[in-house]
Amino acid sequence: MNDGNAHERAQRLMDRDRVEGIALEERRWLDAHLAACETCAAWAEAGEAALRMLRSVSVAVPPGLATSATLLVRERGAQLRKQRAQNLALAAACALSWVAGVASAPLVWRLFAWLGSALDLPGMVWQLAFVFWWFVPAAAATLVIIVARTRSRTDLNMSDSDFV
């Protein structure tokens, strides 16, 4: 192996050693080469110096960083828990409303039919009125969810900007 190839091999091995590790035989060859070659030894030292710096240098953490993050996370966590409880209550109310709606549908259908005939309304009118009655709880629940989400999003954004 000529000198140029040996230097290239040494530098490849140095990098591979740092990234993936090298075999014992390759390490022996590298150690022997570094002992004999000043240029490669200097390269090795420069690389080690860079890594030593990266590991050893300390940075200044702003005072109160963890405390403010903890407060922020706790506040947001409390808001999320409250929101979840509200969503669960709403879901339970929707489910209850749906069950009651299904159970009472035949009765209400007959009531609308009777009203339609009593008021002499066309069939389409009282049937549409029945459909509208059927969708009122779902529409109301959707409206409540949208309003609640909008309000909660506004609250969260405000609390973030207050903190930072």
Binding site: D15, L54, V59, A66, V73
Partner: protein, 198 residues
């Protein structure tokens, strides 16, 4: 302290699984313990990545809010650190799209905050302190001049000591890409160090 979540209390089961369960439940004490535990490492990572102390502080808080809301996505099988750094990295990318992250040097200004994990040499002598400052400045300059794709893999590998596979998870790239970026990053850093040699 009563009611304070202790990571040691969960020593009976794999810590990652306990972490995943606690994150799913959004346990405030667990999150507080994690914030304290990773304060230095996460802040340092963000600082080196953004080059701005102010941006790093903002992103630190955003990262923990994201951990709170996305905690259920942590699988409890792999280590927590890569998942945490992955969240932080995505926030850095989002932030860099919104604004330019500059002023790398201010990150190494110790007057603004407290020193964490001080080395023994820090208290030894004014000379040691001066050398430490010089070292930090040189490192800051070298890192600032490295392209971001190389800087991040070097930080994850040699500062955060993640495995190659974990780095691949954090940067969402194939293992071969991680390796090639590491090799190129090492080579670029070495050349820059040579330039900076006094």
């Amino acid at each position: 302290m009563e009611g304070v979540f202790s990571l040691n209390a969960l020593a009976m089961e794999p810590e990652t699984r306990a972490l995943a369960r606690g994150l799913r439940r959004r346990e405030p004490d667990l999150l507080e313990a994690l914030i304290l535990r990773y304060e230095y490492r996460l802040y340092r990572y963000l600082l080196y990545l953004t080059g701005s102390a102010e941006a790093a502080s903002d992103l630190f808080q955003e990262t923990w809010l994201r951990v709170l809301t996305r905690g259920h996505q942590y699988d409890g099988v792999s280590r927590f650190e890569p998942w945490l750094f992955s969240i932080a990295r995505h926030l850095v990318i989002d932030a860099s799209r919104r604004r330019r992250l500059v002023s790398f040097e201010e990150a190494f200004e110790p007057a603004e905050g407290r020193e964490r994990e001080p080395r023994a040499a820090d208290a030894a002598s004014p000379l040691a302190e001066y050398e430490s400052r010089e070292l930090a400045n040189r490192l800051g300059e070298v890192l600032a001049r490295l392209p971001g794709v190389y800087r991040e893999v070097l930080l994850l590998r040699f500062q955060e000591e993640l495995t190659l596979e974990e780095i691949a998870v954090v940067i969402r790239a194939p293992l071969s890409t991680v390796k090639s970026r590491l090799y190129r990053g090492l080579s670029a850093a070495r050349e820059l160090m040579e330039d900076k040699r006094p």
